[in-house]
């Protein structure tokens, strides 16, 4: 037996950044990863089908759960092999005295180890678990002979042992409380000591942010309570699968608790005292209260309080991005040609690996990885490898036709306010083929609030549109507008719903060498209008709005909408310097490239993948950073 850890040991600093001991963390087993990959042939679509089927079967049909359980019970209740039933049984009654003697030995000399205390608590809890069978509701349901045997052979002796274990546990607890309570109160009152969390070190070591392995005696934690609330506690022992903590209850009483590593991780997605850089700003994990872990985020809008769920989302996206980056780095770092690539190309190659949810860039990543594994590529000189890697990144064939819909934002519908309709002069609003009389317009003022940006703009619809159709268009438009990023909302002026296709489509088809060209939306820089045509798709509307808003923004930034003028040179240079294009449509002209890049930038800002896209287009994103700042100002 060892002496209980002295209280001063509890002030040991938590594991942070470079102080992480890699040897204790273990490394991911490659064979496990391979096995998971082999089995992971179930696609995302398959999973959706499964979840939908499961949800449909269970909706309003609680019996399903019981039905499935019945099938499980049949499988579990198959007759046992004879040999397993023939094991010699001991008699618990005969063991009572030796068990009681063992319990009495604990702390008989005034010393006890943390692990002994943990074992004693675990044993007591297990015994209490079995004693649940003493519930009359359970006993009454058993056949009489079974009930009698359980009462005499099991519950009676266990009752004696449980009582002894509880008494012994309480006595030790009292002694521990006398010794530890002052130190605990002092530790809980002490100001949080922040330490920068080294995300790279954790990622390389394969340690999740919420791993119980990060805790040592003396660390502060949020402790989940049985009533759903939380207490702030101090770790006193970490045994791997479980930890011991001391804390003060809601009424200020000293308490001890054993907590599983899983429960600890669930309540502590990050560790109190962690501070780390995120895309939204620096995050500080400050402590815990009865609602759980809390912290603060230094966002561009100022310091905001965040809860454990928000921290979990940050940790999850950071973990995922880092793991992908580490994987990509391990693939490319072994290539002699990788170090011959420019820094921009190296960063872009590594970041491609983290864009797993982007089907386009993930396909490009797979292509690059497959190519680099081929003997022909391996046989190339380092400079030839570097050249091929750079070319693969710039291969337009892998880009999407137009930017796919990536935006995931959704603001509250109540933030959209429709004003009173007024009659507008159709000729000024609609694009109609030559000789066609322009219809009169219904102009509706709209106010939209996204984040801190509130913008009033007009929506114009043809008066001739049947009311039902007009309402449908409004609904679809509203759905799209709700998801627009603030930078795009700030550039809106007038949205015109055209009743006919764009009369300029023919010219565009010739200009872009695309015979089937059909406009979904266009932007008129002079009138600051976005025109929506019948070909516009609801599913693509958000991305297309962002694209057209990009055209309007380009007028303010570069002085023209069509790429003419010296101010466009900066964009052209950035476009040439970036390793990757944004879309095939963007490759047609520099002003379309700007609109596509603006749409990508605004629709991914604030998401986990934004930094990965930035690594693919660092020079263009640097210009867009400045534009976004101006737009929000």
């Amino acid at each position: 037996m060892t002496l209980i850890r002295p209280p001063q040991n509890r002030m040991r600093s938590p594991i942070h950044g470079p102080t992480v001991e890699l040897k204790t963390a273990g490394t991911p087993k490659p064979e496990e990863a391979v096995a998971v990959n082999k089995l992971g042939h179930v696609s995302e679509a398959d999973l959706d089908v499964f979840l939908t089927a499961r949800a449909q079967r269970q909706r309003g049909l609680d019996a399903t759960r019981r039905g499935v359980f019945g099938a499980v019970e049949k499988l579990l209740s198959k007759p046992k092999p004879v040999e397993s039933q023939a094991k010699a049984a001991h008699t618990l009654k005969q063991n009572i005295h030796s068990t009681l003697a063992s319990l009495g030995a604990i702390y008989s000399d005034g010393f006890v180890s943390e692990s002994e205390m943990g074992s004693l608590r675990a044993a007591r809890n297990r015994l209490l678990g079995v004693m649940k069978l003493a519930d009359p509701d359970v006993l009454q349901m058993l056949p009489r002979d079974v009930r009698e045997r359980i009462e005499v052979l099991l519950l009676e002796p266990l009752g004696v042992i449980t009582a002894a274990a509880t008494r012994r546990n309480d006595r030790i607890f009292d002694e521990v409380m006398k010794r530890d309570e002052p130190a605990l109160r002092q530790r809980l009152k002490a100001p949080v000591e922040y330490k920068a969390l080294d995300v790279d070190v954790l990622a390389r070591a394969g340690i999740p942010f919420d791993a119980a392995a990060r805790y040592v005696p003396g660390d502060l934690v949020a402790v989940p309570r049985s009533d759903g609330s939380f207490s702030r506690g101090v770790v006193t022992a970490n045994r791997g699968p479980s930890l011991s903590v001391e804390m003060l209850t809601a009424d200020g009483q000293f308490a001890q608790k054993d907590i599983t590593a899983q429960d600890l991780s669930a309540a502590n997605p990050l560790k109190i005292g962690d501070t780390l850089e995120t895309q939204q700003g620096r995050l500080w994990v400050s402590g815990s209260d009865d609602k759980g872990l809390y912290g603060f985020l230094d966002s561009p809008q100022g310091r905001v309080r965040i809860d454990a769920d928000t921290m979990r989302r940050f940790a999850s996206s950071l973990t995922s991005a880092k793991a992908s980056t580490t994987q990509a780095l391990s693939i490319f770092a072994t290539l002699p040609g990788f170090s011959s690539c420019s820094q921009d190309t190296q960063r872009a190659l590594i970041s491609l690996g983290s864009l797993k949810r982007d089907p386009v860039f993930h396909k490009l990543f797979d292509h690059v990885v497959t190519t680099t594994k081929s003997p022909a590529f391996r046989a190339l000189s380092p400079s030839a490898q570097a050249h091929q890697l750079t070319q693969m990144l710039g291969d337009k064939a892998f880009l999407p036709g137009v930017l796919p819909n990536i935006g995931q934002r959704r603001t509250n519908l109540s933030n959209v306010t429709w004003g009173t309709a007024s009659w507008g002069d159709g000729a000024k609003l609609f694009y109609m083929p030559q000789g066609t009389p322009a219809p009169r317009a219904i102009v509706v003022p709209v106010t939209l609030k996204v984040g801190d940006v509130e913008k009033r703009f007009d929506v114009a619809l043809p008066e001739s549109l049947p009311e039902a159709k007009r309402n449908q268009v409004f609904l679809e438009l509203t759905t799209s507008l709700q998801q627009l990023p603030p930078e795009v909302v700030s550039s809106l002026s007038t949205i015109v719903i055209n009743p006919v296709r764009n009369p300029d489509d023919e010219w565009m088809a010739k200009h872009f060498h695309d015979p089937g060209f059909t406009s979904a939306m266009t932007a008129n820089g002079d009138r600051r209008q976005i025109h929506v045509y019948p070909a516009a798709s609801v599913s693509q509307a958000v991305q297309t709005f962002c694209h057209e808003a990009g055209h309007l923004v380009s007028v303010d930034v570069f002085g023209s909408i069509n790429g003419i003028g010296p101010k466009w040179d900066a964009w052209e240079q950035a476009r040439g310097a970036d390793p990757v294009g944004v879309s095939q449509y963007g490759c047609k002209a520099k002003y379309e490239d700007f609109a596509e890049a603006f749409a990508l930038y605004t629709s991914t800002k604030g998401t986990a993948s934004h930094d990965a896209y930035r690594a693919l287009m660092p020079h263009r994103f640097a210009i867009l950073d400045e534009i976004a700042r101006e737009a929000l100002r």
Partner: protein
């Protein structure tokens, strides 16, 4: 004698049929929708025989029924360990339930797909597992 994995039922000299009788009471509680009582019974069985994974799977279903997803997942994790003594069909049911429960959590879709993949792999090797997968009807 009283180690964390000792079967207390065996130590007490209870015939194996008595434990089965307790399990049947749990099944009866499940069938009548009394999930809290079923949780109590299965928790007692797990404490009684910690190495019997079947009790943990029953407990997982009871906790799921009682709406305690987190504890249901803990129980599923504990019964889907390497070298589990669950029969293949029961393993499939455990995997399907875990896939369903983890899918909505952070990073859960990948874990859910892995579980479904494991269920399919089991079904390819065992007719009982295949029957469980087909009978489950939730095949991906």
């Amino acid at each position: 004698m009283l180690t964390p994995t000792t079967s207390l039922a065996e130590l007490a000299g209870l015939p194996p049929g008595d434990v089965d009788a307790i399990a049947r009471v749990g099944a009866s509680a499940m069938a009548s929708g009394r999930y809290a009582l079923a949780v109590k019974i299965y928790e007692a069985l797990v404490a009684l025989e910690p190495l019997v994974h079947a009790h943990r799977l029953r407990l997982a279903f009871a906790q799921h029924g009682a709406g305690d997803t987190r504890r249901a997942l803990d129980a599923l994790d504990a019964c889907l360990v390497e070298g589990t003594t669950l029969p293949p069909g029961a393993q499939v049911h455990a995997l399907l339930l875990r896939a369903e429960l983890v899918a909505t959590g952070p990073g859960g879709r990948e874990a859910a797909r892995a579980d479904l993949g494991r269920a399919h792999a089991l079904a390819a090797r065992s007719p009982e597992a295949k029957a469980a997968l087909d009978g489950g009807g939730d095949g991906a």
